[in-house]
């Protein structure tokens, strides 16, 4: 399973795929490691001293009063490059490594391009040396080294994103996709730190059993928080790193899945804003790909409670491709899930958003492709009620996309086999399109589908036609009858309330 997962990731960074040994960690050790991380974050704060220095990174130039106050004092007066690894005997290399790592805990403010130029360059070089060192290391990393590494990484990457300046927020939520992403000015350092983290995680010299004390729940949680970064470069790194952590730290797997789920729920049910949904889904896509059969109940619940509701947010387009991949993975693994998925799509089917509706139709086709007759029959009635209304959509792309379903041989066969149920549902929609859909393409595609049914089963077709004409002529009567019924109910209600007073009730003639 693990190999499957890792096979999905490009192997550009690691010499050999990590071979995660299943670690049987007891509850006690994981508790201890959490305590350790608290200590760790304290020391980080102390060493950096200024309360905001971590968050100073992405800050825009607006802090003219504060710069003097909160920045700068975190930078030691002498920030000098340390000797190169080549220039010291092997026995001192580890000590030097730790020194260099500690040096990189200092975080620079990149909002002012003229500030600390020399020091910034020194840190960049040092970081590159660290990457090199980790990549070429032979001999397991010791616990103390790991602790320092994680401390340095935490100091650099864990930061709170700053809000977008208000000027850019005017069109809030309207065109999320078109917005220019905010590029983090500190990227020259961040990138190398991420590279360093990636190499550290994937290095065969990193023993997961020890490393999990530092790459712990708290670390993972903060790493997941970073997925909200607006910088796509950062999310790309995070995606790869998360995947590797998932692969290497078996013990964290349930926790990671749960934490991602929580982020999804927050996104779906409360905020509808998050930048990293697509990346999460991409990681999950390959995790799902590796699920063993038969699927565990937990994973099926994940499908129903998380993946299907993810169709609800209005910014679906930002991650639909990845979501659709995850969904079809499930259906391909276990075709019995098809009708659950289809009913889910129907539940969240967009009412007014045509472009979202087209996405749904795309996904529907992929799911139907993997659907077998029994599941199809279980959901076809509500499904084709929905498709009927798509056929009549005034947005030609929606109508056209729905009609294209008939171009798919598998789907066409399913429809043909069940035409006795399906044609009566969609016949009125076909008829209305044929009579007066404004779009030429929709019109002619509809005629094709109509002809297909006619050629297949002329008797059924004629029966539907008769029924349609009957309903059409009765429509007004039905509507009137409904109004009359409600009116009578209201009269009855009024009579009950004021039962002591005599009122004149006009009884409509019954039909």
């Amino acid at each position: 399973m693990i190999k499957q997962i890792l096979g999905k990731i490009p192997r550009k960074h690691s010499k050999s795929a990590a071979d995660p040994s299943p670690s049987a960690s007891s509850l006690a050790t994981s508790k201890k490691s959490e305590g350790g991380s608290k200590r760790l974050s304290n020391t980080v704060n102390e060493s950096i001293s200024a309360p905001y220095s971590v968050s100073n990174i992405g800050n825009n130039q607006e802090n003219k009063f504060k710069n003097s106050r909160s920045n700068g004092n975190s930078i030691p007066s002498s920030y000098e490059a340390l000797p190169s690894f080549r220039d010291v005997p092997s026995s001192e290399k580890q000590q030097l490594f730790i020194k260099k790592v500690k040096m990189c805990c200092v975080v620079f403010d990149f909002t002012d391009p003229t500030k600390h130029l020399k020091e910034r360059e020194i840190k960049r070089q040092t970081l590159l040396e660290l990457v090199e060192y980790v990549t070429s290391a032979n001999g397991k990393f010791t616990e103390i080294v790991m602790q320092e590494i994680v401390k340095m990484i935490s100091a650099n990457i864990f930061r709170v994103f700053t809000p977008q300046p208000r000027e850019n927020k005017l069109l809030d939520g309207l065109d999320l996709e078109d917005e220019e992403p905010a590029m983090d000015p500190a990227w020259p350092h961040l990138q190398i730190v991420y590279e360093f983290l990636l190499r550290f995680i994937t290095s065969p010299e990193t023993d997961a059993k020890i490393a999990k004390r530092y790459i712990d729940h708290s670390f993972v949680l903060k790493l997941l928080d970073l997925f909200d970064s607006e910088d796509p470069r950062e999310r790309e790194y995070l995606k790869t790193i998360l995947h590797r952590i998932y692969g290497k730290f078996m013990v964290h797997r349930p926790f990671i899945r749960k934490a991602i789920n929580n982020i999804f729920y927050y996104f779906i049910f409360e905020t509808e804003r998050h930048n990293g949904i697509a990346e999460f889904l991409e990681v999950l896509g390959s995790i799902i790909n590796g699920f063993a059969l038969p699927l565990k109940e937990e994973h099926k619940l994940f499908l129903v409670r998380t993946l299907i509701p993810l169709h609800k947010p209005k910014c679906l387009a930002m991650y639909h491709q990845q979501l659709s991949y995850c969904i079809t993975q499930f259906v391909e693994k276990d075709c019995k899930l098809a009708d659950i998925v289809i009913r889910g799509l129907i539940k969240y089917w967009p009412v007014t958003n045509s472009s979202k509706e087209v996405l749904f139709l795309n996904e529907l086709e992929e799911v139907l492709e993997a659907t077998q007759a029994p599941e199809f029959q279980r959901c076809m009635v509500p499904l084709f009620q929905r498709i009927a209304s798509c056929l009549n959509s005034l947005h030609f792309q929606v109508a056209e996309r729905a009609l294209f379903l008939w171009n798919n041989d598998h789907i066409e066969n399913l429809i043909k086999q069940n035409r006795k149920f399906i044609l009566p549902i969609i016949f009125p929609a076909l008829e209305r399109n044929a009579q007066h859909h404004w779009n030429q393409a929709v019109h002619s595609l509809t005629l094709n589908v109509r002809k297909l049914f006619y050629d297949l089963d002329p008797e059924l077709f004629k029966a539907c036609q008769v029924k349609f004409e009957e309903d059409e002529s009765k429509e007004k009567v039905v509507r009137e009858k409904r109004e009359v019924t409600w009116k009578r109910l209201e009269e009855l209600a009024a009579k009950n309330v004021t039962s002591n007073e005599a009122i004149l009730v006009h009884r409509p003639p019954s039909t």
């Binding site: 607006e62 003219k64 700053t162 809000p163 927050y266 409904r482 109910l489 309330v497």
Partner: protein, 587 residues
């Protein structure tokens, strides 16, 4: 169907309607649930309708939302409070659905029902329901339960109260952040119902748990509740329990948390009293005023006045005023704008001397700000300014700002300043107005943007109201009427509407002698749009002028227009003629 005549089964109607494919019809029938209930009568509503609804909560969210709302008002339909318990079952189901808005509405309705219920029913049915929700398998039910505790707690007997507090404590530590957020959101409401002795122990420890949460979003909500919680405590307890949390929040690494603190701090000051405020909260607040993040400074700046009102003036001058000075030249326009909108409120707090000496320079610099919103915010508080520093000092500084805003390239800015002109006029007086602002008001009537012209016409009317018709005869009417000769028909339209607005203010005499002739001559305009607007204006004049004027001037003009080649002109002319006839008939 024939039998329906005598026995219409209301529930069957509903069942039938809810089967319909068309969601609008289903929605419609749910919205008329009370009709069905009344038709059924109380007993059958309890026995037939409510059980049916409990079993049928599998519809679309929109329908469920409507159902949740309707049921909140159903107590009278089931026979009053003694039967209110039957309503809990359908709402319980709705508390666990996925869609947030349905759940929230169901909780709201449950709250409404629960607060009317008798104590016995509360214990026997409401609280068990709440406990079931709180122990729900999925987070949706647990989230819903959080919003019900404050309803049930006051009516619960002692033993149950202990249990309820324990359950709430568990919800605050729930495995899912969704639930913890809901618990944090509702903590203040719940705390308000808890006895003081337990407040200090149980509630405070829940609060502390939430403030240490590893999720930003939970901590954020904990801060939001801190002020309401603080107000429930004795000042010394608040100072010892809540204050430290707030101080540390004000240095939280998440700007959202600091932002929330900045918004809440002044309320907390009221709760902890002056002494603790001076010692601990002033430094924290000063830090927020100088925060790195513009959003935090915006929030803090917006509360400056409220904060200073709690302090004594010396402390305000000594600690807060320097920050205010800095903020007035902040690099973010939104910070300056927030400051500009409240800064005048500080004047009464500081007293006249400090105001003139310290505040006025800030105020003047904001009035010259490059960003129009900032200037507008100051101008909108002009009445307050005037009271403190007097008009002479003000008018010199004000005028350039107004003139510049009057010509701002954003029409919304121009619109805003026009809306303040009547206020300005009343504050500045006739003399000043004639010299400087009169011309501007006329200029706006020829603005390129319709909304500005429309506002300008309205402005002219309000000025006439402010300064009286005699003044208007000299300073407004001639200029306005002059513009009726403009080449551009859109400008002539503006003038027409200005005239129709002015007429009621100016009174019958001036209207007949001065305004009416201009309108009548406009009925010969070459543009049909002008002509049918003439018809509309004439119609509006009918109630103002004498009957003889209507017959001698207005009617002939309208009769002529009713023969116009243009269909719209004829239509409006006939409308006006009909109006005249109606007035005649009724008089």
């Amino acid at each position: 169907m024939a039998t329906m005549n005598e026995s219409l089964y209301p529930v069957l109607v509903l069942i039938d309607e809810l089967k319909n494919e068309d969601v609008h019809l289903r929605l419609n029938s749910i919205r008329r649930l009370s009709t069905i209930a009344r038709a059924l009568g109380e007993e059958r509503t309890r026995k037939e309708l409510i059980p049916f609804l409990s079993e049928n909560n599998d519809d679309e969210d929109e329908v469920l939302l409507a159902m949740a709302e309707e049921l909140g008002n159903f107590v009278p339909h089931v026979g009053g409070v003694e039967h209110a318990s039957v309503l809990l079952a359908p709402l319980e189901g709705l508390c666990s659905v996925e869609e947030t808005s349905v759940r929230e509405k169901a909780v709201e309705s449950l709250g409404r029902i629960g607060s009317q219920m008798r104590e016995l029913d509360l214990v026997e049915s409401f609280i068990p329901l709440m406990k079931r929700l709180a122990a729900g398998e999925w987070f949706t039910a647990r989230v819903s339960s959080c919003g019900l505790f404050h309803i049930a707690y006051p009516g619960a007997p002692e033993a149950l109260r202990n249990e309820l507090r324990t359950i709430y404590g568990q919800l605050c530590q729930d495995d899912m952040p969704m639930v913890r957020r809901a618990a944090a959101t509702n903590l203040g409401k719940f705390a308000a119902t808890v006895e003081p002795s337990h407040l200090k122990t149980d509630i405070i420890s829940m609060f502390k748990d939430l403030t240490k949460d590893d999720q930003d979003s939970v901590r954020l909500l904990a801060v939001e509740g801190c002020a309401s919680l603080g107000k429930l405590l004795e000042p010394q307890d608040c100072a010892s329990e809540i204050l430290p949390a707030i101080i540390s929040f004000s240095q939280d690494k998440s700007w959202r948390v600091r932002y929330m603190v900045a918004n809440q701090l002044h309320e907390l000051c009221e709760a902890v009293g002056q002494e603790a405020t001076r010692m601990d909260l002033v430094p924290a607040y000063v830090q927020l005023l100088r925060d790195n993040e513009a959003e935090v400074r915006i929030a803090a700046a917006g509360k400056v006045t409220k904060f200073c009102q709690i302090l004594n003036p010396e402390i305000a001058v000594q600690h807060i005023l320097p920050c205010v000075k800095e903020l007035s030249s902040d690099s973010s326009q939104h910070v300056r704008s927030a400051l500009a909108s409240i800064i005048m409120g500080m004047a009464p707090v500081l007293g006249k001397d400090a105001t003139v000496e310290q505040l006025l320079p800030i105020f003047l610099s904001l009035l010259k700000d490059e960003f129009p919103d900032v200037r507008l915010n100051i101008i909108s508080k002009l009445d307050q300014v005037n009271q403190v520093i007097g008009i002479d000092l003000l008018s010199q500084a004000l005028l350039p700002a107004i003139v510049e805003l009057a010509e701002d390239r954003h029409w919304r800015v121009r619109l805003a300043i026009i809306e303040y002109i009547p206020l300005l006029a009343s504050q500045l007086g006739v003399g000043f107005f004639d010299d400087k602002l009169g011309a501007l008001c006329m200029k706006w009537l020829k603005d390129k943007v319709y909304s500005i012209r429309e506002a300008a016409a309205n402005n002219v009317k309000r000025l006439a109201e402010e300064f009286g018709s005699e003044w208007a005869m000299h300073h407004i009417i001639p200029q306005v009427l002059e513009m009726m000769n403009d080449n551009h028909y859109l400008y002539r339209m503006t003038i027409l509407s200005a005239i129709s607005l002015l007429a009621p203010v100016m009174g019958s005499e001036i209207t007949c002698s001065t305004l009416l002739p201009v309108i009548i001559s406009a009925s010969k305009d070459r543009v049909p749009n002008i002509k049918f607007n003439v018809a509309k204006v004439l119609q509006s004049l009918i109630p103002i002028v004498d009957y003889s004027v209507v017959e001698n001037s207005i009617r002939p003009c309208l009769v002529e227009l009713s023969d116009d080649p243009d269909v719209d002109v004829r239509y409006y002319a006939n409308q006006a003629l009909q109006a005249i006839d109606q007035v005649m008939m009724s008089s």
